[in-house]
């Protein structure tokens, strides 16, 4: 094992502005979807921002991250530009997956963002493989594997957890529990009282964190990642969160009440971090307004960038099927 690289402390005001960027990006993506500039399926992250920003703030840039199809925020949090993300939604060649992946398949190799995977739980074994490679090479990285509460009843999830525990692999399974797998509530999908009991079944330590609280997510992920770097093992976190929008753009979310949504909106992760920072004298209202304005401008510029970008050329249709570009 090489000497452990320290985790760089991320400025909280910067992380707040990242949450704002994600929020404004998703709002604009929704609008562009309705304007039919974005095709296919589109799943928004609004309400869950503290989970990915908190987790990313706790790890190194060379740690691996992988997630499911609600993935815009994970790429943005890793530093993929709003331009490249919006262009991907527009199916343009300048997109983070050259317009070939779409909303559910954001990838950024340079920033160790390994997707964007759209079959529920099918990426959990991939995360275990990435963690396997870390241990194989005796590195001190960790893999963060994000997934929703809907993933925990799939066979792939169970097989992956067993393998991770069996081989003692450096992976943090982060369940973003937003209470609904599409329209089916956790109560109607899962036989357990609490999700972390799934981890206990594989002898993996599990903890619940408040997924609406940036600081709590960050501190818990940091603690777990630190322990993994010292001695590789899997860990499991259930981040309790909420999505304000439907499962996808076509879902009016009529399976839940307005009162429930309002309850969570009052606990908004951005409002919460803003209040914490303001109370501590680290942020003024003017500063916040400026950050929000910057986020909105960045996203507007991204829309313009996406609109002006070219479509992937038809002549390259066969270039991305096999690594050597050969047509079989």
């Amino acid at each position: 094992m090489t000497a452990m690289q320290p985790v760089e402390q991320r400025d909280e005001v910067e992380m707040l502005s990242l949450m704002l960027l994600i929020r404004r990006f998703e709002e604009r993506a929704s609008q562009q979807y309705q304007a039919q500039k974005v095709g296919g399926f589109c799943h928004l992250y609004i309400g869950q921002e503290a989970v990915v920003t908190g987790a990313i703030a706790a790890v190194r840039d060379d740690d691996y991250i992988i997630t499911a199809y609600r993935d815009h925020a994970h790429a943005l949090a890793r530093g993929t530009s709003a331009n490249a993300c919006m262009a991907e939604l527009f199916g343009k060649e300048t997109g983070c997956s050259r317009g070939l992946g779409g909303s559910m398949h954001f990838f950024d190799r340079q920033r160790h963002m390994y997707g964007g995977h759209a079959i529920v739980a099918a990426h959990v074994p991939l995360a275990v493989g990435m963690a396997f490679a870390i241990k194989y090479r005796s590195e001190d990285r960790v893999t963060l594997c994000f997934f929703g509460d809907g993933a925990i009843n799939q066979g792939a999830f169970h097989e992956a957890l067993n393998l991770a525990a069996l081989y003692k692999l450096p992976v943090v399974f982060i369940c973003e529990n937003n209470l609904f797998a599409m329209g089916t509530s956790v109560k109607r999908s899962t036989s357990l009282k609490q999700i972390i009991d799934r981890a206990e079944g594989y002898d993996i330590p599990g903890e619940i964190v408040d997924g609406m609280n940036f600081r709590e997510v960050r501190d818990k992920v940091a603690e777990v990642a630190d322990s993994i770097r010292k001695e590789p093992h899997p860990a499991f976190l259930e981040a309790r969160t909420y999505r304000y929008r439907g499962h996808s753009m076509s879902d009016p979310a009529s399976y839940r009440t307005k009162q429930e949504l309002e309850k969570y909106r009052l606990d908004d992760p951005i409002t919460r971090l803003r209040a914490q920072l303001t109370r501590e004298g680290k942020l003024t209202n003017e500063q916040f307004d400026r950050l929000d304005k910057q986020a909105k401008e960045a996203v507007m510029a991204a829309v313009k960038f996406a609109e002006q970008s070219s479509e992937p050329p038809l002549e390259k249709l066969y270039d991305y099927t096999y690594a050597n570009g050969a047509k079989p």
């Binding site: 990838f107 964007g116 995360a127 194989y136 792939a156 270039d319 690594a323 050597n324 079989p328």
Partner: protein, 327 residues
């Protein structure tokens, strides 16, 4: 050259590639301590250690996916399925994750992985353990599929597969593991390219196109037909995808008559694709309609006599060759 078994040839290929590249590892059920369900990985645990020869639980979806994830970050996994009938449990990983990643990441993540193990019917294993999966997998863009019939081809194709930067399926065959053939000595590097067919027997009257377990059937039938003055050319595809169209057209242009003998089912089988390409490209070379000999379109029965009746056997092939030759 020396004579070794198909099993030994695969074992040599694995050992040579593990020796050559530290990023290569072998993972699967019973590959390490048990020395392989069919002993293909015999001795590898002792030689390369438990970090690189890794036993898994019975968890195909899990460890096939683990392999794909490891390949995303630069390792070169060899994933053994105890049989490709069990790969169906991992179908999502083999079909959805491995071959799609390169496209959907816009070319950022290629997946250099080998899935290997016995494929196709063996002997009285019944319906669930007798699947010939080549046509399922060959229909998926992004996958490469080969099905070697001889020890030499098995060694050369497996070594090439490990070095390929894409997901490659090496479909072996249980009934071929103990078969013998001449192979170059271990100190001579043996690489057989994917997408190259091989004329296993020259002939002038009819082309018998085959692969994997149907190659020995075709050779046996060709030898018998010689006594009846029918000269059959036996063309072993070796790779299903990429397909060596040139070799097929060269042979058919010489013989003008074709029988395709395949180990999968008739509906959407490999032979259907070969047949289509021949008529599309060299229709005028044909002197008779092409005949396909495949499994019967039924789940495999256990009963030995019925199993024989389902398989693309020598009697059916002989009759088909005579029919296309109007003999």
């Amino acid at each position: 050259m020396r004579e070794i078994t198909y099993r030994q040839a695969l074992n040599e290929a694995l050992a040579e590639e593990l020796e050559r590249d530290p990023n290569v590892f072998l993972m699967g059920e019973e590959v390490a301590e048990y020395q392989g369900a069919y002993k293909v990985s015999h001795g590898l645990l002792e030689r390369f250690g438990p970090e690189r020869i890794i036993d898994t639980p019975i968890s195909e979806n899990g460890f096939a996916g683990l392999g794909v994830g490891a390949a995303m970050v630069g390792l070169r996994p060899i994933i053994e399925f105890m049989t490709f009938s069990f790969s169906l449990v991992a179908f999502d990983q083999v079909v959805n994750n491995a071959p799609n990643m390169y496209t959907m990441s816009g070319g950022q993540f290629n997946i250099p992985i080998v899935f290997r193990g016995p494929n196709g019917p063996a002997h009285q294993l019944g319906a669930t353990h007798s699947h010939a999966t080549e046509n399922f997998y060959a229909s998926v863009p992004g996958l490469k599929v080969c099905a070697p019939a001889t020890p030499r081809d098995a060694k050369g194709l497996l070594k090439t597969a490990v070095r390929d930067n894409n997901p490659v399926l090496v479909l072996e065959a249980e009934l071929l593991y103990s078969s013998k053939g001449m192979v170059e000595p271990p100190d001579e590097e043996l690489l057989i390219p994917l997408g190259k067919a091989d004329v296993k027997r020259e002939g002038s009257d009819v082309s018998v196109i085959c692969y994997s377990q149907t190659v020995p059937v075709a050779l046996k039938v060709a030898a018998q037909l010689e006594e009846e003055d029918i000269s059959a050319e036996v063309l072993d595809l070796r790779s299903i995808k990429p397909l060596d169209e040139k070799a097929i057209y060269d042979s058919v242009t010489k013989t003008h008559r074709v029988v395709i003998v395949e180990q999968d089912h008739p509906f959407c089988g490999v032979g259907a694709e070969v047949c289509y390409r021949i008529q599309e490209n060299i229709f005028d070379e044909l002197d008779a309609p092409i005949i396909r000999v495949s499994q019967e379109d039924v789940p495999m029965p256990y009963n030995e006599r019925l199993e024989h009746a389902v398989l693309p056997n020598a009697e059916k092939l002989t009759a088909a060759v005579k029919k296309v030759c109007y003999a």
